[in-house]
Amino acid sequence: MKRNLTLSALLAATALTMAAPVQAQDSVYVPLLTYRTGPFSGSGVHIANGMRDYLEMLNQRDGGIGGAKIVIEECETGYDTKKGVECYESTKAKKPVMYNPYSTGITLQLIPKAAADKVPVLSMAYGLSAAADGTNFPWVFNPPATYWDGASVFIKHVAAKEGGLDKLKGKTIGLIHLDAPFGKEPIPVLEALAKKYEFNLKLYPVPAAQMQNQGSVWLSIRRDKVDWIYNQGWGAMNPTAVKEAVKNGFPMEKLVGVWWAGGDDDARAGEAGAKGYKTLNFHNTGAQFPVMQDILKHVVDKGLSQAKKEQVGENLYNRGVYNSMLIVEAVRNAQKLTGKKSVTGEDVRRGLETLNITEARLKEMGMEGFANPMKLSCTDHSGHNKVFVSQWDGSKYVKASDWMDPIKDVVRPLIEEEAKTFVGKDPGWPKRTEACDKAA
């Protein structure tokens, strides 16, 4: 026990010294909960690079956001909930402006904590779909679209290819998904749509331990004569799914992944056969945009990035950049609303709610054609913004459809209903007391 106590004492001491914030000049502290290790690091590394590099670029080029330097701190989670919560607890005292948990498990843990600690959680197009309901989840944001929006866009895409929503009748649509909360997210929407448009929905769960061993799942898909497959997978599950699809002769252009199933490595695994693989997306790929060139110039070429030059512009790297863009715009918005440079988590929550990224603003940031305009509101924390379909051409993803609106009239009621059941029985769930701001 003695040893235990000395260790605790040491740790207590370190914890105390860490708690002292260093804020000499105007700065905003942005902790990044990233994972460059663990079984999902394959996707995590690229996202982490993208997120970090964009923030670093602003520090190098503009000296931060609106005169406030961005203090970036990465905390390694390894996609592990315990470590993620540790990261949260250890960075909480340093007045972070927001958290990006980057794992469904960690997001679920942070959702109730965020409200209590008054820090917004930005789970960009992941986490809990129901959190799009700003009335019940004032501190959680999941722009630009939820998983449920994604699933509805997939159905729209199928309809477009089949020749109309009425042609869906009698078709068999399969969902291959990771057998965990993340994978199961789209099921309610797909079920609702299956009822509405009278197609058959088949579910193919893949347990986490079986991610790289999907033989029987794909045989079932072959047996059931599935017409279209929606892939809600992550990590090693995606390249394996692409490989198995190639192997079983499933037409690649009918295999559509959620946006997280769109890593360049995922498709590359299928080699020549993977050509035609589709994934949903809400930003473009490639390094031709001015913002990417700035990152290359100010960060990568100076050796400040961990990314290789050719990785800049890959899908998941750009995803990280997009995520950081949302962080920065929210902070900028908060600065405009409050008039101070060092904004707090509470200010940034207001900044997020009034977020309105217009075409003009995108052009200003050098992101014209990279992303689509998007808007959030006090009730709608996701925006249900437009999404498009990317297709793998053998070496990179290219845009293969127009920007499509989600089927909002199906998704939104489901979200509000689910949000109610999620918080419903809890007497301690905070009622929304935060006022709603007018857009700045």
Partner: protein, 359 residues
């Protein structure tokens, strides 16, 4: 020197058979409890309490559960995380179905559900032994994990399959949910752990515990001495699962605010708990705490401690080194003392008793 027992006379058999026969041990225990119950809540930072002490206590409890079956009865189990899951889901279902009953009652009651499931999976243990049994318990791990995902009733049909523990109070203080302060949660947890440890100590020092140990040392001999093996092994599994179940229940109520099964109760967690038991010391209650402390605190010191004393390392490098060091440490401790840290402590104690004149 420090442990001079001169002058401490035992006048009754009961005093001689006490768990802590030496006065210094009793004082030491008192000091530790005082530090845990008073000093830490008053001085510890939020991070220290919520990310160090709470996980430490939860895993100590789980390790205690595993130690009962593995350390005391000699049956290796690799399903402890799944049994924790049973407790967690039982507690969640109970408190959402009967919100008016105090959560503490449900935390303890959820252990019984876990115990029943544990005993059920223990039935093959009469025939199967050693590593074969260890692998057989994996069946429990994977099957239960599958049930947690596939039976929507368990998580009240929430679309994501995750559970969210509602806010509950004890004597007017909020003890679960996000609004509970870490200190409150810590104190409730501490009370539960101390209480459960006291119970475990009494059971294991009594007839039941001795039966377990007889089975562990040689089950055929134990049988010849009149111990009925099946009931003994089933009891061990049930008791172990009870502790694991309570650990799981406090994990989702007092540590996390909910969560998802595939995330919290997976096979890696089972291995992690086994780590603690073996590193801490098989067949020792103290070992559960030592093992849990080592495996919870060393990674944190490496990750957060080093940067704060000026050794700056990138976050992911720290993680790599962390893996390396934890692995090396495990091997090192096993080489130095295969019976775990509890034995190391005993040796130290023995040395302290005779120091400075060992002869």
């Amino acid at each position: 020197m420090f442990y001079r027992e001169a002058g401490q006379f035992k006048k009754t058999y009961a005093a001689d058979m006490a768990v802590f026969p030496i006065l210094q041990d009793r004082i030491g225990l008192g000091i530790i409890l005082f530090i845990a119950a008073v000093v830490i809540p008053l001085t510890g930072s939020t991070f220290f309490i919520s990310s160090v002490m709470i996980p430490f206590l939860v895993f100590s409890l789980a390790a205690m559960g595993l130690n009962i079956v593995t350390g005391y009865t000699g049956l290796i189990s690799l399903g402890s995380a799944a049994f924790m899951g049973v407790g967690a889901f039982a507690c969640f279902k109970l408190t959402t179905s009967f919100p008016n009953v105090n959560i503490l009652v449900w935390i303890l009651a959820s252990g019984f559900f876990s115990a029943v499931i544990g005993a059920l999976f223990a039935i093959p243990s009469l025939r199967i032994k050693g590593f074969y049994l260890a692998v057989a318990t994996l069946a429990a791990q994977f099957f239960l994990e599958w049930c947690f995902v596939r039976i929507p009733w368990l998580y009240n049909y929430s679309a994501s399959g995750a559970i969210q523990v509602p806010q509950r109070t004890l004597f007017g203080h909020i003890i679960t949910g996000a609004n509970a302060t870490p200190t409150t949660r810590y104190l409730v947890l501490l009370a539960i752990v101390v209480f459960m440890t006291w119970i475990a100590s009494n059971i294991l020092h009594g007839r039941v515990g001795r039966t377990f140990m007889a089975v562990r040392d040689m089950d055929i001999a134990a049988e010849l001495m009149g111990i009925r093996l099946l009931p003994a092994k089933l009891t061990a599994f049930a008791l172990s699962s009870f502790y694991c179940g309570v650990a799981g229940a406090v994990m989702v109520t007092l540590w996390y605010t909910g969560g998802e099964a595939s995330d919290l109760f997976n096979i890696r967690q089972s291995f992690y708990i086994l780590f603690m038991v073996i590193i801490g010391g098989l067949g020792s209650l103290l070992g559960c705490f030592l093992g849990s402390a080592l495996l919870n605190i060393v990674p944190l010191v490496l990750k957060y401690g080093l940067p704060s004393i000026g050794i700056a390392i990138a976050s992911e490098t720290a993680e790599h080194i962390n893996h390396l060091l934890v692995g090396a440490l495990i091997i090192f401790i096993l080489i130095v003392e295969p019976h775990g840290m509890a034995r190391l402590w005993q040796i130290t104690k023995q040395k302290l008793r005779t120091w400075p004149f060992p002869y």
